[in-house]
């Protein structure tokens, strides 16, 4: 079943070092990694970041298979980006291959490789974040990180609540979709064959019940929250207090070192 393969935003429970890090650390580390990724210019920098990512995946015990499965939906974007870079990067000297209006330069090949690597690594590291951090931890971390924005009247608590609800319901809705799909298939619905028009039409028996149930759930959730006297973030205390530990400080320092290091390497053209 194709739907079950969607792992986006899904949490893999575990007890590794990475699972135990403070969510804020992981968030900052992920951002730092993305920054480093964009600072990276040449082979050496990419190799360092790739090895680092490999180590993180190994330590987190998430498994390469799950990561690769998560990549499947964005494969097309990656390929298109790679192809565009391949054809549209002009270089000095003679093109390696030339046909009709297209010229492929050595620079183009490198640009394509780097761009594909960059997107793949970027997505893998964000996957790693959501795989090893439960949605609740993630939004807790985000809320704390964005806390200063409250001073300029950004509704930080509401935003993070919305996000945690959205994240919380992704697996539920996937499961629900799966169930409705099975129920309609049991009545002979066919979601796989036919042209684009027929396929779009075949989705009606799926989407109508799905929307109705999403609204029903939203309604029930709102009532449940009001029953527990939810009234927004003001004066709310937390069950789980976030505390930075030695491991977190080490990881944050490492993140800083990584950005600076890759920046310096980029400066020397490595």
């Amino acid at each position: 079943m194709a739907l079950k393969d969607i792992t986006l935003g899904q949490y893999f429970p575990g007890h590794t070092v990475i699972h135990r890090l403070d969510p804020r650390t992981k968030l900052i580390f992920t951002v730092a990694y993305i920054v480093a990724l964009f600072l990276a210019r040449q082979v050496v920098s990419y190799a360092i970041l790739l090895v680092l990512l490999g180590v993180l995946i190994a330590v987190s015990k998430v498994g390469l298979k799950s990561i690769l499965r998560g990549m499947k939906p964005i494969l097309i974007i990656v390929i298109i980006t790679g192809v565009l870079n391949l054809f549209y990067t002009a270089g000095e000297g003679e093109p390696l291959v030339s046909f009709w209006v297209f010229n492929i330069y050595a620079e183009g090949i490198w640009a394509a490789i780097f761009m594909v690597l960059r997107i793949a690594m970027l997505i893998t590291c964000t996957f790693l974040l959501t795989y090893t951090t439960s949605p609740i931890q993630l939004t807790d971390g985000l809320e704390r990180l964005m806390n200063p924005l409250k001073a300029i009247k950004v509704p930080v608590h509401e935003l993070s609540m919305m996000m945690s609800i959205a994240l919380r319901f992704i697996p539920t809705l996937i499961e629900e979709t799966d169930k409705i799909m099975s129920a309609q298939k049991a009545r002979g619905a066919d979601f796989d064959t036919g042209n684009l028009m027929q396929k779009a039409k075949a989705l009606v028996p799926l989407l109508v019940p799905l929307f109705i149930s999403a609204f029903r759930r939203a309604d029930e959730l709102a009532v449940a929250m009001e029953c527990r006297c939810y009234h927004g973030g003001e004066g709310r205390t937390r069950l789980r207090q976030l505390k930075l530990k030695g491991m977190d400080v080490a990881a944050l320092l490492f993140a800083l070192a990584m950005c600076v290091g890759i920046g310096v390497l980029g400066h020397f053209g490595l």
Partner: protein, 292 residues
């Protein structure tokens, strides 16, 4: 009796290759016979829902085979789709699958997918509506205007309209009031008798099972530890208890009576049987006394 659906060494593993991997069914041999009223019982997560989704080809076995009338349902794509029309499956809380503008159209969804002509579809829709006790004038209404219990009947009619020779229902009475439960069970019995169809009901209510089915299949931990007539199955009281299933309240009372030293037939599970057993015991007591 002639088997209609069979599974041979059926195994199913969910999320193979991820940390969530777990076997839902392990080497299951299951048989349903033509025209029987069969109950599948098991607690939540025992694998009973996984089992029934294999019977109409919604799930593909990780290993093993599923046979409908002796033929492998995964032989070809057409055969799998065809099987879904012969083996109707009503999911748990089926009222959440309704989507059409009118009840009529919703019930007609299945028959339409079968490629039947207008006249035949019309006949089937009206007949199915009759089976579940929906009045004619309701057919042009939106299914979303109905009450929960009535929505469920529309959903069940949607499957009945395909006139399957095997009708599988997953917890068809969950969340209904006692009157609603009786009505739905009555509707299913009507269909069973009118079409001589095989009925497979999934439930975890022993009482309901005891009253309705000819044969019970117990599913636990992805296996079938035992099956048989209700009387035989309830004789395994302790094992059922260990699986978190328990036996009907009436059976429990009689087991206790026996444990307390009362010489009475303990294989009862309905009120009527209990009455007969008690009367038989009293009668015997009297003759014994008379003899003294």
């Amino acid at each position: 009796m002639e088997p209609i659906i069979q599974t041979e060494h059926l195994s199913h593993i969910y999320s193979a290759g991820t940390p969530f991997e777990h076997g839902a069914l392990v080497d299951v041999d299951f048989t349903a016979y033509r025209g029987e009223y069969l109950g599948i019982i098991g607690h939540t997560g025992s694998g009973k829902s996984t089992l029934i989704q294999h019977l109409n080809g919604l799930l593909k076995p990780t290993s093993g085979r599923v046979l409908y009338e002796g033929q492998d349902i995964w032989e070809s794509k057409e055969r799998t789709r065809e099987t879904r029309f012969h083996v109707g499956l009503v999911f748990q809380y089926p009222e959440y699958q309704l989507f059409e503008e009118t009840i009529y159209k919703d019930i007609a969804f299945g028959p339409k997918n079968m490629g039947l002509d207008e006249k035949e579809i019309d006949r089937r829709v009206r007949e199915a509506a009759q089976f579940v006790g929906l009045r004619e004038e309701l057919l042009d209404k939106s299914p979303f205007e109905l009450s929960g219990g009535q929505k469920r009947r529309v959903a069940i009619a949607g499957v009945i309209a395909m006139e399957p020779s095997v009708l599988i229902l997953d917890e068809p009475t969950a969340g209904l009031d006692p009157v609603g439960v009786e009505e739905i069970l009555g509707n299913i019995r009507d269909y069973h008798q009118a079409k001589n169809a095989t009925i497979i009901i999934v439930s975890h209510s022993m009482e309901e099972m005891a009253r309705t089915v000819d044969r019970i299949v117990v599913v636990n931990d992805g296996r079938i530890p035992f099956s048989g007539a209700p009387r035989e199955v309830f004789a395994h009281g302790d094992e059922l208890e260990a699986m978190g299933l328990g036996v009907p309240a009436m059976t429990r009372v009689f087991h206790r009576l026996r444990a307390m030293g009362v010489d009475i037939d303990a294989s009862v599970y309905t009120t009527e049987q209990a009455r007969d057993a008690i009367l038989a015991r009293l009668g015997r007591g009297q003759t014994e006394k008379g003899a003294v």
